[in-house]
Symmetry: C2
Subunit: 471 residues, 2 copies
């Protein structure tokens, strides 16, 4: 049996769901959508209150949707066929190959030799890697899971910082948080650094503004670089790693690299697959191969060459766990959208603030757009549901089109840093197990304020300077 | 790296696929259907030749479908949202509860005290349990996975017979094979013992014959009981357990039961969930609750009461492995059906044999119906694709309607014993890991001949006696 406290929390979670269920839904929202909303909120509440591990709470939540017939079984389990979900699962398997072959350790030692005197230095190293890859790998999930996460795991390993243990705070927790926030920023910086960005360009085009690769990058470069410079330091202060200084680390890394000797055959294969993955992730959109298919191909190569065995796959518990909870949260969020709840919400917000001057309306609308991401499990879904409505509302209320279009565009990636289900990288990096869920939310919220301030204030000045809008 | 022999087999597997791919498809079969067929055959070939474990071969197969664009990603991964797949996964978790709480061991010791002098006795005990539950639990997957499999696992455990090890042959392999064949027979015996049977009744009604619960049971009872009596003995001869006699087992079981003492709280909860599951599986069709939803509910109860922990779920490797390979094979088979390959096959067979006398046509058609199940991963899909066509063809060629309708109806369950992907119970019982894949196929094939002989010869006489057909 569980402890009493756990049962109180579990009861509280149920109470939240039941209470919301019985609140009469707003007009224009059908009962089914409202009931799903109640279950979704209770599930999220349960995940934060944590009477049972996240996977359990997700299973209880999805069970509630099918028992109450709010969702059919097919609807409730549709998330398990989702592309991003499988990209995450495959990325977990591939990152096992990095660790198993020693390639991850080698790359980490190279990093450490260069920047390892301070943990902060390693943080900046990861951010730099992210920035270099971002314009080329349009799937931020692939970037995080296929490249950055294996390095983080290996680095943490070297410093004996293990997931789900007190040692996680030594190094793993810091590096995961930094790279998570960094990937959200780099995703916002280039038209090709996040899968949803091209969709934004299309939606904006319909409303009368043309965004090119170049104009996007120019508008993002100043707030983007400042954000990236701030992230490792801010998180270092907010959520410091317990190992901060390691003056002998570069020397140690040098020795280790010497001891490792030459690259062996499995490591060569892993390196080949790694280059193959990056190459195909870069070329993918041009030749029509999805990031998930690329990852599956990479995995198949690792299996055929016996770099990974089937046993490695079976035992990769983090992958299975993430498969469960992320699929479930994704399904709930997708269905909320399908049932029209988000559409209703957009319209309601726009209607409520119609009397405001444009600057207040613009700030309110963009903030609501940002924080409503607490109810989404995918950037793409959020963009699809709300981008066009919010852009139209902002311009209707008098806000400059260029300013509104770009702010909403950037926020469409930046809000990915809020929760553990807010995006593919979120599920992956949180799933690595170094950071507890409450901390994840706390850091996510504080960083969102810092990010918004940077992009609104400094970004605003820059956008004015480059003529994106007039006053 | 793998051994050379493994690579030759892997190459041979690819060669099979490539060769079939380039064979020109028959008229009326579109290229895409044919290409999927080539990949499916190669995948099955690879699973039998076994250069890599089944899960790897399945992943390679599905990778081939998306890379060649025979299937879209969404199509290829649609099986992961399938109901039967999740019933299997949940059944794996629930059976962990049986073992963990000791309830499984207790039930096994009760069995053993009663029938444990000989392994053969235990085999008959399982068959009897199957028969009692069959009319009441319409999902044979739930029956196998929720009730029988936990008992098998516990019994095997008591005799130290472990999956994926030489000791599997002691006891586990025999009991799994017996209960697998038995569940296919009990599924054929009652209108309510297999999910696809009501569909058959509907299809047959359209062709002019009314089948009731009673008429179904009467027609099945004689060949069914004889088959059930034969199965444990036949498999005992074909695939003998290495522990066959255990004269002291009943005494030992008695002692163990004494040592176990009274049922403890977790065991009570498990027993309660067990009864709850059986009850809801029986009532399910009446009150509109699917077997999978029932299983999910049972699992949630076990998690909330902490009988199972999230860690137990993460580590249940058999569930994850089965999720992968069964979803993939199910997807391929479903898509073959959707692309019209099976429809074409039915038509082609009926056309080819139109000149035969009815008795030969009847035998040929029913045999083709039976063995074409090598290309199906679900009874339901097979029935949907071929039952009506084959029944219509048989009667058009002069075979008696009643005889043809019932033979095809019974075969619709009996063919479930052929492969490890032929039905839900197949995936579950094979997934338990006691029997190697080649043996599974061999026993499946031999038992199919025995089953067909019993149902055609003795069944035929019985059906003639009860007036199901005239000559």
């Amino acid at each position: 049996m569980l402890a009493k406290k756990k049962y109180s929390l579990l009861l509280l979670t149920f109470a939240v769901g039941v209470a919301l269920w019985w609140v009469p839904p707003p007009e224009q929202v059908e009962a089914r959508a409202w009931h799903l909303f109640a279950i979704f909120v209770a599930t999220i509440f349960g995940i934060i209150a944590n009477p049972l591990p996240m996977g359990c709470m997700a299973l209880i939540g999805i069970a509630a949707t099918v028992i109450t017939k709010v969702l059919t079984f097919q609807e409730a389990f549709s998330g398990f066929g989702n592309e991003i979900v499988w990209l995450i699962v495959f990325a977990f398997f591939i990152s096992r190959g990095f660790i198993k072959t020693g390639l991850g350790a080698r790359i980490s030692f190279l990093f450490m030799r260069l920047l390892g005197k301070k943990t902060l230095g390693l943080g900046y190293g990861l951010v730099l890697t992210e920035l270099i890859l971002a314009p080329a790998i349009p799937s931020n999930t692939a970037r995080s899971g296929g490249v950055i996460l294996p390095i983080i795991k290996s680095l943490a390993n070297v410093f004996e910082s293990k997931p789900h243990q007190p040692t996680a705070k030594r190094m793993g927790a810091y590096l995961t948080t930094v790279s998570f926030q960094a990937t959200c920023i780099t995703s916002a910086m280039f038209l090709t650094s996040m899968a949803g960005n091209p969709l934004i360009v299309e939606l904006a085009q319909d409303l009368g503004i043309t965004i090119t690769w170049g104009s996007w990058a120019i508008a993002a470069i100043v707030p983007g670089l400042i954000s990236l410079a701030v992230v490792p330091y801010a998180i270092f202060k907010l959520y410091p790693p317990t190992i901060t200084e390691s003056p002998h680390a570069p020397e140690f890394a040098k020795e280790q690299l010497h001891n490792m000797g030459k690259i062996r055959s499995n490591e060569w294969i892993m390196l080949g697959v790694f280059i193959f993955l990056i190459g195909l992730w870069i070329m993918g959109p041009t030749i029509g191969i999805k990031a998930t298919v690329t990852a599956l191909l990479g995995l198949v190569i690792l299996l055929i060459t016996n770099v990974l065995t089937w046993q490695d796959i079976r035992q990769e518990e983090g992958a299975w766990e993430t498969l469960i909870w992320f699929s479930i949260l994704l399904t709930m969020a997708t269905q909320l959208n399908k049932l029209g709840l988000t559409q209703w919400f957009s319209n309601w917000v726009a209607y409520e603030i119609q009397a405001l001057p444009w600057i207040s309306a613009y700030i309110l609308l963009t903030l609501v757009y940002f924080y409503s991401h607490y109810f989404f499990a995918s950037n793409l879904a959020h963009i699809g549901a709300m981008y066009a409505t919010f852009l139209a509302a902002a311009t209707a209320l008098g806000a400059p089109l260029g300013l509104s279009a770009m702010t909403l565009a950037f926020y469409s990636s930046l809000f990915g840093g809020l929760t553990q289900y807010s995006s593919g990288p979120a599920a992956l990096l949180f799933g690595a197990g170094y950071v507890p869920v409450k901390t994840w939310w706390k850091i996510g919220f504080i960083m969102s304020i810092i990010t918004i301030l940077i992009w609104q204030l400094i970004g605003g000045l820059w956008w004015y300077a480059i003529g994106l809008f007039d006053v």
